[in-house]
Symmetry: C2
Subunit: 205 residues, 2 copies
């Protein structure tokens, strides 16, 4: 089994200093990489900027922006059997990146943001015989929104978690199938949940 | 000597997940804290979110937003002899923070940003007999902009560095005085520069 994993946040720069991002620590994705390596799988890890060392034994690709993560994943996915997309990509980016550092003027500024490409949907739509596990971080109507994402992005399963997961050591997740069924519910440290997810995929894929 | 130090970035949230920030690692400010502790000074460290352990022996205050950093500093500065403001605060914040997580619609979004309070200027204007060292990170017209900041914010000295400093292990800085003179120029690791700065302040203050 050769597994592609995405992890961490991405950053979208407003100017050369300021960016839009989120507090994703990369811990969920890195824990999944470690669990998959421990299970004897080949692991390809594409990671946004985090303060974690890449697990020993994985093929590691470092990216900053969502477009860079998309490009890396589209290139690497065809060589893998499946993907677990644990990254919390920035799904908006400033329409323009200002060169240098925007100087304060005393007045307000307006930043136009456009949606970035949907990396998970792109992988879902080119998957052919590969499997795709997405992550959905939902604040409102979590199951409904997660299922919509699963279907729109052509995932095989989606891991549903809430905003409390961001940057935390522990998590509480449900694994949803396209039927709408909750096929697993795991709580514990991100390491525990990663091991549960890999064991589950080893049985089901 | 009792020294207040600010370090790291601050974050300004767009919604419960997304924020505006910068890649400041906190290394410069934490290195200054360590150098000051090593010189036998009392150190009060006010830090934004970073992946560094607070130096042993300092009084540590953790903050997230620029307003929180301002409040902590205004409370702590009167009990100190001076401040070194190494934090890279976010000087803009979204006018409104959205509760929950903004959902994608397919269309662009516009974010109104307003300037945050200027923490360094506030400290400069209440300093009385205390000294104030600011940091200026300048991309264009660096000396001119840094000197304008020094004067407008009522600093005693300002450390001028460039965007390459952000998140790096090394730095290349000039120390500017209100006269416009460059009174020191240090290059090396942030630890080296921190030791140089503390030795310089021990002589000059």
């Amino acid at each position: 089994m050769r597994l592609l994993i995405t992890a961490g946040p991405t950053r979208e720069y407003i100017d050369d200093v300021r960016y839009v991002s989120n507090a994703s620590s990369g811990r969920m994705g890195y824990a999944i990489a470690e669990a998959a390596l421990a299970a004897g799988w080949d692991v390809v890890l594409v990671s946004g900027p985090v303060d974690l060392a890449p697990p020993i034994g994985c093929e590691f690709h470092s990216v900053v922006t969502t477009d860079q993560m998309r490009d890396a994943c589209l290139q690497l996915f065809p060589g893998c059997d499946g993907v677990i997309a644990a990254a919390a990509v920035s799904d908006y980016r400033p329409l323009q990146r200002i060169t240098g550092k925007l100087s304060k003027t005393g007045g307000p500024i307006t930043i136009e943001m456009i949606e970035t490409d949907d990396v998970l949907a792109k992988l879902g739509h080119i998957k052919e015989n590969r499997w795709v596990v997405g992550f959905a971080l939902e604040a409102q109507n979590p199951r409904e929104n997660a299922l919509q994402k699963l279907r729109r992005k052509n995932c095989d399963w989606i891991v549903l978690n809430g905003p409390a997961a961001i940057g935390a050591d522990t998590n509480d997740v449900e694994l949803l199938a396209p039927s709408g069924d909750s096929v697993a519910h795991w709580t514990g440290t991100k390491r525990d949940i990663a091991a549960d997810l890999i064991a589950w995929l080893a049985r089901e894929t």
